[in-house]
């Protein structure tokens, strides 16, 4: 029986259900001590003096002078220091590291830091330091705007969002001898083990042998893409200095205050339309608050801009984006990676365009939805796996949208809809330059998958094993998955960008086909008995038709896209302006589900996260720091906040994916916020910003 397409038992299921799975904080090593980060308490200024108000006996103390290589986290730029030398750019910036075997003594240690404070910059619109600019140009938008029957303008704002993975960031650095050299092994809750390797090589120079082992990881959502490089660097410095294993586990408050968030954005639209509802020009300006260092902001901006025109055809488009410096902790990767911000904006804009034209918003979307053969803002000609109309029509049909919406007129209930898409894998030529590799090892009983792709709850081990099982024609149970250890597995690229199943799964599929040929009809066990072990390693080859020019932002931005249409049915309390989502119908097309239950879980979870983004999750910033860094006051949805979910998975295979699969992880994040806000419009609330808290809705001017 084929494994692909059935909901086989998760590879990590028993361990997690029984509690035998070990997360970073479950692990101890002989002689292990605990690390703590001393952070800045001002948003901008200089360190004048540091004084230790405690008995330093038994403590390991590290500051920037201890760095032998380069004091910068090697990512896109090398501007972010592991430890402040003098200049403080944001609240909770790491300045010093302490370690001690007694956690309470460690926590009680008080370090007095004197600063020379400077006036901080918090408003991205006032910032003149631009980390990255993007300009996407198609046709003649100025001319088309001038000659349009109608121009609709709007400004839309989205806030920070915190990942709230169940397990906060944490690592253990363990000194180890490798061929007589003093090295270090990092055990930690990470998405991208090889990113950590890159950052640590820069931090330590070429000297110490470094490896990174991913421990069981309690969620990531992008929050463990780049940040673990920082905490791993800290633990490694303490470990190398003390000669002992060092564990650093953030508690929830530290994790929320110090680590990355989703970029807040301000998106301005000017859309030219004809009387009969055709979009003829889109002029879009995207501003993202990058925070104090570059980190991943340029690529977040890039994905945000590429998705900013929404799943619509238009011959004349200009999208200008910039991400800027502010004195706040750096914003970073978060499920959706810039697209939830810009797709919120365009989908509310679409609703307003329909209002302005007096044409139903479903019809306006239908007229303009991208079809195979159409070109996107970057000039990419879409292929047969383009499903905007398919998901829209199914969502409208299934929810009886038009009739139901009409029936709610005059009540405190309404329906809202959003149409969205999400490019899978790295942008443009990204997958080519990543040179991702995957390996299959023949074992005495079957095969072992050896990649750096991490299981972070989304089902990596399971879907990869399913793909290998069917491609090799062996039972799913005979496929094991190696724990990612950078010394032992192939670098399959980061576990991000909805690429793990689609891209790494594809390499594994090819490895399996190659292995099957060598087995020549023998089972793995038979082959192993007769000839011994062997391995197959292959590198990813993106589809050869992909052409992308990073200088002009023209070309094939993504090999394929997932498509979605969400319908939110909500009720607003007339006294308190609380929004109760009653039902959310999520119709999504992502090629083909490898594991239907896991795919449904991705859509349900992403929808919950999207509803939190839409209605509840407000990061309150005070003096450049999160003031509600606790789960009581940063409110994510509970089960009682969740509506009934109707998840519909449509299929339209992507020929370049394993068994037709596209990426799925991020797609569900893009839809809920605009669907909810569009429903609010039908109730008379002209909301242009999320989170749409009751306080915000109460202050909204009526649309009617």
């Amino acid at each position: 029986m084929p494994a692909v397409g059935t909901s086989v038992a998760r590879k990590d299921g028993i361990g997690k259900a029984t509690g035998s799975a070990l997360y970073a904080d479950d692990i101890t090593f002989p002689g292990m001590i605990h690390g703590r980060t001393i952070r800045s308490t001002i948003p901008r200024g200089r360190v004048k003096s540091i004084r230790f108000d405690f008995d330093t006996d038994g403590f390991t103390i590290v500051d920037w002078h201890d760095i032998v290589g380069r004091n910068s986290v090697d990512l896109i730029e090398k501007d972010q220091p592991f430890l402040v030398e003098s200049e403080v750019r944001h609240m909770a910036e790491p300045i010093l590291l302490l370690a001690h075997e007694d956690r309470e003594r460690l926590n009680a240690a008080h370090v007095e830091i004197e600063y020379e404070e400077e006036t901080p910059l918090f408003d991205p619109e006032q910032s003149t330091v631009v980390f990255k600019k993007i300009d996407i140009m198609k046709g003649n938008p100025a001319g088309a705007l001038a000659s349009a029957d109608l121009v609709v303008e709007g400004t839309y704002r989205t806030g920070h969002q915190e990942h709230v993975y169940i397990e906060p960031n944490g690592v253990i650095a363990v000194p180890e001898d490798v061929d007589g050299k003093k090295g270090v092994a990092i055990f930690g809750s990470v998405q991208c083990p090889f990113y950590v390797i890159k950052a640590l090589r820069c931090l330590f120079g070429a000297h110490p042998p470094i490896r990174v082992i991913q421990t069981e990881t309690g969620g990531g959502f992008g929050g463990k893409e780049e940040y673990p490089s920082m905490i791993a660097g800290h633990a490694a410095m303490l470990a190398l200095k003390s000669g002992r294993p060092v564990k650093i586990i953030y508690d929830r408050a530290e994790d929320m205050i110090a680590t990355t968030k989703r970029h807040p954005a301000i998106v301005r639209h000017r859309t030219g339309v004809t009387r009969d509802g055709h979009i003829v020009a889109m002029d879009i300006d995207v501003l993202m608050d990058g925070g104090a260092y570059v980190t991943l902001s340029p690529v977040v901006l890039s994905r945000g801009c590429i998705h900013a025109a929404g799943p619509y055809r238009c011959d004349n488009v200009n999208i200008r984006g910039r991400t800027v410096f502010t004195n706040t902790p750096p914003n970073g990767a978060f499920r959706g990676f810039g697209a939830p911000q810009t797709e919120f904006a365009v989908e509310v804009q679409m609703e307003r365009i329909a209002e302005a034209l007096g044409i139903d918003s479903v019809e306006v979307r239908r007229i303009n939805a991208l079809r195979p053969g159409d070109t996107t803002a970057t000039g990419q000609k879409l292929r047969e796996d383009t499903s905007a109309l398919m998901v829209l029509d199914e969502a409208v049909r299934r929810t009886d949208f038009l009739r139901k919406r009409e029936g709610y007129r005059g009540t405190n209930r309404a329906l809202g809809l959003s149409l969205f898409y999400h490019g899978a894998g790295f942008t443009g030529s990204g997958e080519l330059s990543l040179k991702s590799k995957a390996r299959l090892d023949l074992t005495p009983t079957g095969v072992r998958i050896a990649t750096g792709s991490t299981e972070i709850g989304q089902g990596t081990r399971t879907t990869h094993a399913q793909i290998v099982s069917d491609s090799l024609g062996i039972p799913y149970e005979d496929v094991e998955v190696a724990q990612p250890d950078t010394a032992r597995v192939a670098d399959s690229g980061p576990t991000v960008a909805s690429r793990t199943c689609m891209v790494v799964g594809k390499i594994l599929e090819e490895c399996a086909h190659e292995m099957k040929e060598r087995l020549n009809g023998l089972s793995p066990a038979e082959y192993h008995t007769r000839h011994g072990a062997f391995s197959v390693e292959r590198m990813y080859a993106p589809p050869d038709w992909i052409k992308w020019d990073d200088a002009t932002y023209r070309g094939d931005a993504y090999a394929t896209y997932g498509w979605g249409c969400d319908v939110a049915e909500i009720e607003v309390d007339p006294d308190t302006f609380e929004v109760r989502p009653l039902k959310l119908t999520a119709v999504q097309e992502f090629g083909r589900p490898i594991h239907p239950a896991l795919a449904q879980g991705q859509i349900e979870g992403g929808t919950a996260q999207g509803l939190g983004y839409a209605l509840l999750e407000r990061v309150v910033m005070r003096n450049g720091a999160m003031a509600n860094a606790q789960l009581t006051n940063y409110t994510i949805p509970t089960t009682l906040d969740m509506p009934e979910l109707d998840v519909v998975m449509l299929e339209n295979p992507y020929p370049g994916g394993p068994f037709g699969a596209k990426g799925l992880g991020e797609l569900p994040m893009d839809g809920p916020a605009p669907a909810v806000v569009n429903a609010l419009r039908w109730l008379g609330f002209d909301v242009r910003e999320i989170p749409a808290t009751p306080e915000l809705i109460a202050g909204c001017t009526a649309t009617a």
Partner: protein, 287 residues
Amino acid sequence: MARNVGRQCVRERDAVRTAISGLEVRRAASLGEALSILRDDQRTPIAGATDLYVALNFGTLEPRRFLDIWAVNELRDISMNGKTLVLGALATYTSLIRSPLVERHLPMLVEASRQVGGPQIQNRGTLGGNVANASPAGDSLPVLAAVDAVVVLRSADTERRIPLTKFYTGYRATVMRPNELIVAIEIPPVEGRQWFRKVGTRAAQAISKIVVAGVRAAVPRIAFGSVAPTVVRVPETERSLASGATIDEAARVLSREIVPIDDIRSTAEYRMRVATNLLRRFWIETG
């Protein structure tokens, strides 16, 4: 029954978790033992410890020495004394929810208890603890204030009864003396329809942004939480409604009588608007 353990739930930026080894706990098995310990020794009483753990995790826990009275079963009773409903200080929200007496005499307390935290908190959190913790956002407090509940305080030597409306002297401040324990909350007979509404930050596991309890009688009694440094009754509003003012006039009186503030959960403007909306809703639904 933590007293003032969580003064501030927002962590100082450089604060860390309170060191457990620095805490000292004694356990009392009976009320007599608890009161005699408190006579000689200043300790903060704790029972469910649900507020304590919040403060501990945020490094804002001030007291270091505690008296655990969770085992003092004589404070768990829910009973009638004549026409007075007597709620033991250690009655948990779960026991309040399940009590036929509370359901019959004070159904809005059942409603309030159902909206406290989640089941785990309801199993551990106690009514006495909610009163002692003195948060202006305490979910049960408007209910108690609206029905003129009486807090029964006992020390080794004396017992005194303080109306809940006189129990709080300011933000997180009460008339309790260090040697006293809350032993019970007494509810005089309640005439008229009861009405309760909590507006939290989400559907469950939420701290209230505004909470209202009302009793509709010839002279209505109405109390609000989260609109002032303590839970408050609104006597002017009550009087205006009793004297036949329209609900619009009463809402205007209310808006002069409460002084909500901005905080990390909500805004003064929202709280004011919703308070007046809920006053109207109370009036419509109990009329």
